[in-house]
Each structure stands twice: as C-alpha cells, then as structure tokens.
Amino acid sequence: MSSAAQTVGVGTRMRGSPPRTAALMRHLGLRGAALVYLGAIVVLPVVAVITEGFGEGLGSLREALAIPYAWDAIQLTLITATIASLLNAVMGTALAYCLVRYRFPGRNFLSSVVDLPLAIPTLVTGLMIRTLYGPNGVLGEPLAELGIQVVFTPLGVLLALCVVTLPLVVRNVQPVLQELDPAEEEAASTLGANAWTSFRRVVMPAIRPAVVGGTLLTFARCIGEFGSVVLVSGNNPGKDLTAPVFIFQLANQFRPQEAAAVATLMFAISFVLVLVTARFVMRRHET
C-alpha cells in the first residue's frame, strides 16, 4: 500500500512546451476536467465545512468546545487514538519485521490476515467485536464475570481502533525493511553488536521515517473512525462517545453548524498531521 501524500517526483522529465493548437486544446481540456472534478468533488465540500465551522474565526472553535460533551468526546478520541497508534506502532513494526525477516509456516496466511481490515467494512469489524465481547458474547460473558467490560467502554473503542488500523504501520514499514540489506546487520554482528544493538543502531534508523509516517497515518485514521466505533461504544456522552460519533449525533439532530464546528476542529488536527506525514515521506525520498 503506497503511503500517504505521494509527491510527484521533481526529477521526472515533463513535456517542455505545450503542443500546437488542437493538441493544445486537448492538453488544456484535460487539465480543466481534472480541476473541475477535484474542485467540485473535493474542494467544495471541505470549503463548506470550514466556512460553517470556522465562520467566526477562532471564536467558533472556542464555541465548539463549549458545546456540552464536545470536550469529553474530543478528549476520548485523542486519548484512544494516541494509545491505539502507539500500540500499533510497536506491534506493527514487530509484525513487519517478522513478515520480512522470519520464515515460518503460515507466513503468507498471516500476511493476508493482516490485510483484512483494509477490505472488510469497518461496520462489520465493529459488529464482530461487539458479538465476541458483548454482554452475551463468547468472550464477553466470562470477561464480565471477571469484572472486565469491553463493549460500551473506552476499552471497546480502543480495541476497535486497533483492529481497523492494524495494517497501516505494517504496510508502511514492510517495503522499507524489504529493501534493507541484511548484510548491514551481519556487518554489525561481525563488529561485535548483539541482536538488540544491531536492531537499534542499524535497522531502527532506517525504518524510523516509515514507522513515524505509519503512526501518524494511524492517528489521523483513528480520530476520524466511525463505522467500527459506533457499534462498539454505547455512545454515552462523557463515557464512551467519540468525536466522530458525536458529530454524527449532532448532524442527526439537525444541528449542522455545531457539527461543523467540531468537525473543523478535528479536521484541523488531522490536516496538520497529514502535512507532517508528507514531510516525513518526502525526507525519506530524499535520502
């Protein structure tokens, strides 16, 4: 899976000058079509949200935070997203390492399973978790007896986020690991480094941009996640309500302006993140 914010290469040779008349019309026509498509489909909706949500500048954002339960929802979203991102950063990197460096029976199967969240609808994922860990679930019941409740709690939200974003770090790190020459680690061992040192000093620096990029991608995905979370949480404000579900509720209650305010705030956060990710990806291309 190609990583986010793929920049068009600077070194690509492009046509130096526009061709003549009829071909020029075609040339510009294509560009026009592309711009109209992106303008109408992508730019217009975003502008609508930002205009409504940012209507009175930073004041609107403060108002957004003043909406009852908004701050709780945002807080829960940010916390669960952070934990899920960190967890998947570690496990995702480990997974990538296993898939690239180790040979074991079922490796291809594992690789395919990791990709499942890319294909399975998020709603179905949420339903799966709810079924398994719900009050009548195969695992839910025994866990409830132990006093651990998964669904309708932030734990359930966290679980859903981890499942849905599992492939992101893995697929970002895997290609980088694959290109890494094992000879580098072998050289390190001949120079006296043990496995952990060699991993820390040889492998980590090389995959760090990919890991960070994948983690940021995961975070951005988590704070916007709806389908898996909505069935797994009770959507109780202050308890297990996340920002996306909150926005959904506001929209359903015909309060689109407030919804837009919260949405703009969340968008601003993930926009900054995508920019940072893009810079990380570009730096990788440059080295």
């Binding site: 793929q6 492009m14 294509l30 711009l35 992508v42 609508a48 399975i120 709603l123 679930g137 496995a195």
Partner: protein, 289 residues
C-alpha cells in the same frame, strides 16, 4: 537441544547458547505478534460466524430473500459501480495531468488528492448536508428543479465518490512517472495519434495499477458507512445500503439478519482481498504481459 560438536572447547558452547537465545527471542516476538493478530482479528471473525449460524443455516436464505435486504445489496452495488466508473475515468485524467503536465499549483493539486484521507467520513456526510440540506448552499437551486439530492441516492453517490477519489490516482501516478515519456514519444514519431498512443502504449503499462486502484475503491465503497449514513435519511427500501441495513437492524434488534448481511459483506470483501493481493503482487513485479 543438542550440543554442537566442538573442536575447541568453550567458544562453541557460548555460540550455541547465543543461537539458542536468539531462537527464544524470535519465538517470543513471533508469539506476541501472532497472538496480537489472533486476538484482534481471527477471534472476532470466528465469533461472528459462530454466532450468526447459531439459529441454523436456514437464516441465510431467509434473510437474503427479504426485499429490504435485496434492495440494500442492490443499492450498494449501484453506488459502487457508479463510484468506480467516475473515480477511474477522472482518476486517470487527474493522474495524467499531474504527471505529464507542468503548471502553477501542481503540488497543491497533488496534495488535494490526498485530502479525503484526512477527513472523517462523518465530516464528509456533514459537508453534503451543508451543501444540499435544508439551509444548504445549493438546496434552492436543486429543489426548484425538482431534483432531490440529500436523503436520496445522489448524495450517497457523491459522498462515496469523495471518499474514493485518492485510490486510483495514487496507484496510477507512480507507474506513470516510472514508465516515463520515451515510449509515448516513440509512438508519436511513428505516427500514432494521441488516442492511439494512450490506448496502445500508455494504457497497457498502467493496466494493473489501475485495476488495483479499482479493487481498493470497490472495497472502500462497499464498506462505507459514516458519510452515507448521514445523508441517506434511512428510508427503508429506498436509501438503505447494505451497511446501513446492518446498522438499523442492530438498532432494531434484528440481530440475526444483521449478522447474515454482515457476513455476506465480509465474504465479498475477503474475495476482493484475494484479488487485491494478487493484483498487488502484479503491480509490484511490474509485469504487464
């Protein structure tokens, strides 16, 4: 664990100890990783199939016979097909313009393509409401002409297209960059028109990347819930996609039906996944014949 035969004494014992330690570490990491994936994915998958089939296999045919269910699948298919068509055709155009043309604001346009990834689907649905809803920007224009956008299929198609814009573009752009201009230039000097060049020379080279993008788009469109839920209006038999059906069925405690539809979608997705994996391997190896 057998001891390695040694010629010189201690060094080989410590070497075999190191090897043993390494194997242990490897086993631990592998074990942790497999457990993680199993707990997160495999268990819930098994769980839902188990629970769904509890009332017996008959539930499957019963559910699939229901008109609402059939309509839901049909609507999902409709929306997906339109989305794939629009995003593929325009995606190709955008990819071409981005790679082959130079103009002011090109990097901005390039960033625009990734914008849908930065947005939560509910925000997309919200945007549609803001544009076409009661107080929406364009509401007057469309209602005056009797065209219903919001709470009807058109808005559902629009939001799905928004969400799926990046897939084909991101897959085709790197391939277009990589194959470069030479083949196309050669084709022109040999007398081929722009169309001929595109169909005979360029397209065969980007075929697999395009298909991969289409597969990703299909999977995403089938699974879309957040945006589509907001704009649909939840009119049963009219504006319920398969995913929306699952959602409302759970709300209304028709859990058995919900499971069947969910598993059907999951099966379709898994098949799609197999296709995606095969295509990914094709694009990575770059074989186009």
């Amino acid at each position: 664990m057998s001891r390695a035969l040694s010629v010189s004494g201690s060094p080989s014992t410590s070497a075999s100890r190191a090897r043993g330690r390494r194997r242990l570490v490897r086993g631990l990491i592998l074990g942790a990783v497999v457990t993680y994936v199993a707990v997160l994915l495999l268990l819930p998958l098994v769980g839902i199939v188990w629970t769904a089939l509890e009332p017996g296999l008959g539930i499957i045919s019963e559910t699939l016979a229901k008109p609402e269910v059939r309509h839901a699948f049909f609507l999902t298919a409709q929306i997906t097909v339109v989305t794939v068509l629009v995003t593929s055709v325009f995606g190709l155009i955008v990819a071409w313009v981005l790679v082959r043309q130079r103009f002011v604001g090109r990097s901005f346009v390039n960033a625009l393509v990734d914008l849908p990834f930065a947005l939560s689907p509910v925000t997309v649905g919200l945007a549609c409401v803001l544009l076409f809803g009661i107080d929406g920007w364009f509401n007057e224009w469309f209602t005056a002409r009797g065209i219903q956008i919001i709470f009807a299929v058109p808005s559902m198609i629009l939001v799905t297209i928004f969400i799926c814009v990046p897939f084909t573009i991101r897959e085709v752009v790197p391939v277009l960059e990589e194959i470069g201009l030479d083949e196309e230039d050669a084709s022109r000097t040999l007398g081929a028109s722009l169309w001929q060049t595109f169909f005979r020379v360029t397209f065969p080279n980007i075929r697999w990347a395009l298909l991969y993008g289409i597969a990703l788009t299909t999977a995403r469109a089938i699974g879309e819930i957040g945006a589509v839920l907001i704009v649909s209006g939840l009119i049963t038999g009219k504006t319920e996609t398969a995913t929306i059906y699952i959602f409302t069925a759970i709300e209304e405690r028709q859990t058995a039906e919900a499971y069947v539809v969910a598993i059907t979608l999951a099966v379709v997705s898994v098949v799609l996944l197999v296709v995606i994996e095969a295509l990914r391997r094709r694009t990575e190896h770059g074989r186009s014949h």
